[in-house]
Amino acid sequence: MDETIVHAYGVVAANEPFGGFPAGIADTRVWVHDVEDLGAIVGFLPAEGFGVADWERNAANVGWLEPVARRHDEILQYAASTGDVVPLRLPSLYRNLESLGDTVRAAGDRLERALRRIEGKLEWSVKVYRGIKEEDPPASEGAVSGRDYLLSRSRDLSAKAAAREQLADRAQEIHEALGHASAEYVRNQPQDAALSGRSEPMLLNGAYLVRRADQHRFLQLADEIADDARAMGLLVEVGGPWPTYNFTGDVEATTRQVIR
């Protein structure tokens, strides 16, 4: 048998009814490997093609990374549709099952805490954009003198700035309103327009940890908020449910959010 490496997708409580996983990265089999009271969702990948050297070589190669990231997420989505799973960040490679077992045992307390934190909950994302149809102040028609023009121009600009500030405040209010309907919530750095492919400025990039039982209420609230916000020129986009990537209890996960 060719040399393999272990890829770990996420961590669950042992003896939970997780199974019947779809195919994982590179169409490999996925199963739960028990480590004492915890279970790691794992698969064997060919060391040639998915090892450390491949990560180093392909770290910025979207063509290589996208299918890996999508399968990683799909397996976690599948697990999250069955029960509670703590998602692991990519890359998540181990030499073998023993090495993975040692790592999971060493992080046992932290993982148990992370599991308790997300128990019965899923993550939703809400993004708020400022609509691009911001009406440009009409070129002051009757401006007769340069002084008048400058005065009216400066009035226009400060009105524009005030309007922007108002929209930013509204985005924060939306975040807090959704936060009240959530167990926890976090505000991430807005995505760069170049990366999101959106020309509208992103005012809010929020993640919300929502009890499964409260999802309907949360989404209805998001619906109402989206409708109200549209009248103000704000676009609200809701995505999910996601595995609880933003609520893993990791210090690293929090600091990561400031990296642009």
Partner: protein, 68 residues
């Protein structure tokens, strides 16, 4: 599924959203083969740079903004 859930259900997950979560979030476990955290940061930053041209933005503009 309720109407509200249908309205917002995941259909097409944008790559930038995926990368933000799969590489920007989740628990970090350090094992003997796992790339170090610095390595992960490089992956994340590198990808964010690489993703931009996929959205038809001039790379020079993006790179310029990064180094500013």
């Amino acid at each position: 599924m309720t109407d509200a859930m249908e309205r917002w259900s995941n259909e097409d997950v944008a790559l930038v959203d995926l990368i933000d979560r799969v590489i920007g979030g989740g628990v970090v476990l350090t094992g003997d083969v796992v790339l170090g955290v610095a390595g992960v940061d490089l992956v994340y930053l590198g990808l964010r740079l690489v993703l931009a041209p996929a959205h038809e933005v001039e790379q020079s503009v993006v790179l310029g903004r990064r180094s500013a």
